[in-house]
């Protein structure tokens, strides 16, 4: 299978258990999220048990175990953003895209994630779509921002 070859390429750099986290990071980058077959493949290739790998992965907030939309929207909930009313922005986003919780949208284009701080508080309230930041947002600007990704 093609995805096997892709994974095996990444897994070939595994030497001992200290390589596990970098490998998980690269796999998630490639696949978007960590699925059961991916974890099983790591298990086969590294000799670590499934529970151990899952235990390491679930310890960190950065790893996802559910499919993710094509574009990941990170909504900053840092102090500055909170004060400037990011809750309203998130509400508007959720309404616009019809997303619930951490599930992706029905068309698979977007998923939403709450982030502690993006580190550009001068732009508050701020969201980040993939690798691009959008600052000084207001609920009525959301539609325009999203449009580029549809």
């Amino acid at each position: 299978m093609i995805w096997h070859i892709k994974i095996d390429e990444i897994l070939s750099s595994y030497k001992d258990r200290s390589d596990l986290i970098p490998i998980l990071q690269r796999l998630q980058e490639k696949m978007g999220w960590l699925s059961t077959p991916v974890l099983q493949r790591i298990e086969e290739k590294t000799g670590l048990s499934g529970a151990e790998i899952f235990g390491v992965a679930t310890f960190y907030a950065q790893f996802r175990f559910k499919p993710q939309g094509k574009n990941l929207i990170k909504v900053c909930h840092g102090t500055a953003c909170h004060v400037s009313g990011v809750e309203k922005i998130e509400e508007a986003l959720r309404q616009e895209l019809a997303v619930k919780g951490d599930e992706p949208t029905d068309d698979g284009l977007f998923s939403l994630e709450r982030i502690a701080c993006l580190g550009c508080c001068a732009l508050a309230p701020v969201i980040m779509i993939n690798k691009k930041c959008y600052g000084k947002l207001e609920p009525n600007k959301i539609q325009k921002v999203i449009k580029d990704y549809k």
Binding site: T36, G50, I53, G55, F59, Y60
Partner: protein, 680 residues
């Protein structure tokens, strides 16, 4: 050695020991929850806090802190008791007090501690976690709401069993013990996690709601399955075994496998025989013991000298000895063990003695020829210990990848059936490099020259392994101090070559594991006798053993004593209901040659007799009292013999290499519902 003061007592203990070990030596009672002497120190529960004089923090967990010279330790004080009470209160935030319906109640460490520290209410209030209970996994029920996160199950699964089926998942308040994606368990089901769990988070499904632990009667038994001879505690109520726990003393040191732990229910199989059967007009009719005995006495007296007997290697030493005396003195016929013991006689030919389990643990180079997780899992634990704790080198020689492969330093994947060839190739390499222990060979062995001549002829890669790999394995083996070679139910030729390999290194013990609980005992008493008499005998007395139907044709009188109506038994003239090894007293000799006592743990089915009773009663009817069993001396190494052996042409059947399975599918394991449940 270092000296420290514990509660005013001066204690001397070796370097590297922890404070907890020192307090144990001092006789102080320090409570623990997450500590187990078989596992690496973890320090999760903090209940083992002690006070250290002269330190800033004052309280320190004793299970993870090494003892140092001149330390002054107090194991109890009002402040300590207060601290421990707080820890218990914090544990109880998330631990439901459902002790009245918990199977662990009565032997729960947390329950005992809460009682000891007199906690009746909790200052901290929070909603209990409400995780789903895992009812789906076979044999083991996991109620994570009762879990106190000591991590013992995850650690024993990883460190001792080398499976790591469960692990800590998530973080902080959400942390729990789980499998990947919360699937149900699919492991070896050794159940050691149940034994080690300090609370009732992990319980045996076989024991669920069966009894309260204080109603149980404990009996020390020897595992009836393989010949590692694990020491177990059978816990029964009203003469019925409800659960079996591993004993911390004994060969296994707390280790146990699925067969010993859960496989005891074969004695409660529905098709157990409960009364003697006598063949009448081609049909087996229930009868009384007297009728059966009388018939046997008259027939046996008629056929004197022409009766052959086969005994199962699962009988006790006493039974096998009595059977032998019975045959020698009364029937004047032949007796042999039902299963071939050629590998044990091959071992005595080589002059080697039997290896012990603790030698595997202390070995620095282990050569393994069989997957032990299948046949002798508790011996596998010793290998894990040696490799993971003591950094021993493991050389796995097998035609297929086995469980132990991932621990191996060197893995030699041989062509199927080429075990003998590869040992010959390794020996050739050793002799070519002149690595052998010549002084030992000159002093204590015979036959080195013919061996040398034979093995040095090996130049081709007949085993399918490259020269470099063989050289590297040979070097690992030769450079080690205490190597051991582990075989499980091998062919006699494999024993001979493995013996030669050990003698080259000046070693005198071979680790020879078997599948049946008393193989070594049967060999010690009977030796490896030829079974050719079966075809010429006119009468047969088969104890717990089976023969192909052809061998039973044209016999005048066949008696079978067994637990079940096997195919062989249904061809017999008299069938006697025997008792299983869990239902009788006696001794078994394990693979080390250690004679161990087993006790009656379960009441036999009404009407069944042990084979010892059966034979002695017939003997009495025939007017003879049989002598009592005397212990047989252990064989010690005197002189080693090199036995040059060549691989014979091996026919490989189409289903080779064999699929790895969890159990051998014998007569008794197939009747255990518990084992059948997990072998699917």
């Amino acid at each position: 050695m270092i000296t420290l003061n514990i509660d005013g007592k001066e204690i001397e203990i070796e370097d590297g020991a922890t404070i907890l070990e020192a307090t144990e030596k001092a006789g102080a009672n320090v409570p623990t929850l997450c500590y187990d002497k078989r596992l690496a120190p973890f320090g999760a529960c903090r209940i083992c806090l002690v006070e250290l004089e002269g330190t800033r923090t004052k309280f320190t967990p004793s299970c993870t802190t090494p003892a140092t010279n001149g330390m002054v330790v107090r194991t109890t004080s009002p402040a300590l008791i207060k601290a421990r009470r707080t820890i218990l209160e914090l544990l109880l935030i998330n631990h439901p007090l459902d002790c009245p319906v918990c199977d662990k109640a009565g032997e729960c460490k947390l329950q005992d501690l809460v009682y000891e520290y007199g906690l009746s209410e909790n200052r901290f209030k929070k909603d209990m976690s409400n995780l789903p209970i895992d009812y789906k996994s076979p044999l083991i029920e996991r109620n994570l709401n009762r879990c106190i996160l000591c991590g013992k199950c995850a650690r024993i699964c990883d460190e001792i069993q080398d499976v790591a089926e469960v692990s800590f998942v998530n973080r902080g308040m959400k942390a729990k013990i789980g499998t990947d994606f919360d699937r149900s368990l699919d492991c070896e089901f050794c159940g050691q996690c149940i034994d080690i769990c300090p609370v009732g988070a992990l319980t045996s499904k076989l024991f669920k709601f069966k009894a309260r632990v204080w109603e149980l009667t404990d009996k020390d038994i020897i595992c009836p399955y393989c010949n590692v001879g694990c020491n177990l505690t059978a816990r029964s109520r009203d003469g019925r075994i409800l659960k079996i726990d591993a004993k911390e003393s004994g060969v296994n040191e707390g280790g146990v496998c699925v067969k010993g732990h859960f496989g005891f229910d074969y004695i409660y199989a529905e098709d157990r025989l409960t009364q003697p059967l006598i063949k009448n007009n081609g049909k087996l009719i229930p009868s009384s013991w007297d009728e059966a005995f009388n018939l046997m006495v008259s027939k046996f007296s008629m056929l004197k000298g022409q009766v052959g007997m086969l005994v199962s290697p699962r009988l006790t030493n006493e039974e096998i000895y009595t059977a032998k005396e019975f045959m020698n003195n009364l029937l004047e016929g032949h007796i042999a063990c039902a299963e071939g013991l050629e590998h044990l006689s091959a071992l005595s030919e080589t002059g080697l003695s039997l290896g012990e389990l603790k030698e595997i643990k202390n070995s620095d180079c282990i050569m393994l020829f069989a997957c032990l997780s299948e046949t002798n899992p508790v011996a596998g634990i010793a290998i894990n210990y040696a490799v993971k704790r003591k950094e021993a080198n493991l050389i796995v020689i097998s035609p297929i990848k086995i469980k132990e492969s991932k621990l191996a330093k060197d893995e030699l994947l041989i062509a199927p059936g080429q075990e003998i060839t590869i040992i010959n190739e390794i020996m050739a390499e050793i002799i070519r490099q002149n690595w052998q222990d010549s002084a030992f060979i000159n002093d204590c062995t015979e036959g080195f020259e013919p061996l040398k001549e034979q093995v040095t002829r090996y130049t081709e890669e007949g085993s399918g392994v490259s020269k470099e790999a063989i050289l590297s394995a040979a070097r690992l083996y030769v450079e080690s101090k205490n190597p051991c070679i582990i075989l499980s139910s091998p062919t006699p030729d494999l024993v001979r070559v493995a013996g030669s390999l050990l003698l080259l290194k000046g070693k005198t013990r071979l680790h020879l594991l078997g599948k049946r609980s008393n193989e070594v005992g049967a060999f010690d008493i009977l030796g490896d006798r030829d079974r050719a008499f079966i075809s010429s005998a006119r009468g047969l007395f088969l104890i717990g053993s089976e023969l192909p139907n052809e061998a039973l044709q044209n016999k005048e009188f066949i008696v079978v004593s067994d637990l079940y109506l096997t195919e062989t038994a249904s061809m017999a003239d008299v069938v006697l209901p025997a008792t299983a090894s869990l239902e009788k007293k006696g001794t078994f000799t394990n693979f080390e040659g250690r004679i161990q006592q087993t006790d009656t743990a379960s009441n036999p089915p009404c009407g069944a007799k042990s084979d010892l009773e059966i034979i002695s009663q017939i003997a009495l009817k025939m007017g003879f009292e049989l002598p009592k069993f005397k212990e047989i001396e252990k064989r010690e190494f005197k002189k080693g013999n090199f036995l040059p052996t060549q691989a014979k042409d091996i026919k490989i059947s189409s289903d080779y290499p064999l699929r790895q399975s969890r159990f051998h599918s014998g007569k008794i394991s197939q009747r255990s519902k518990a084992l059948m449940e997990v072998s699917k």
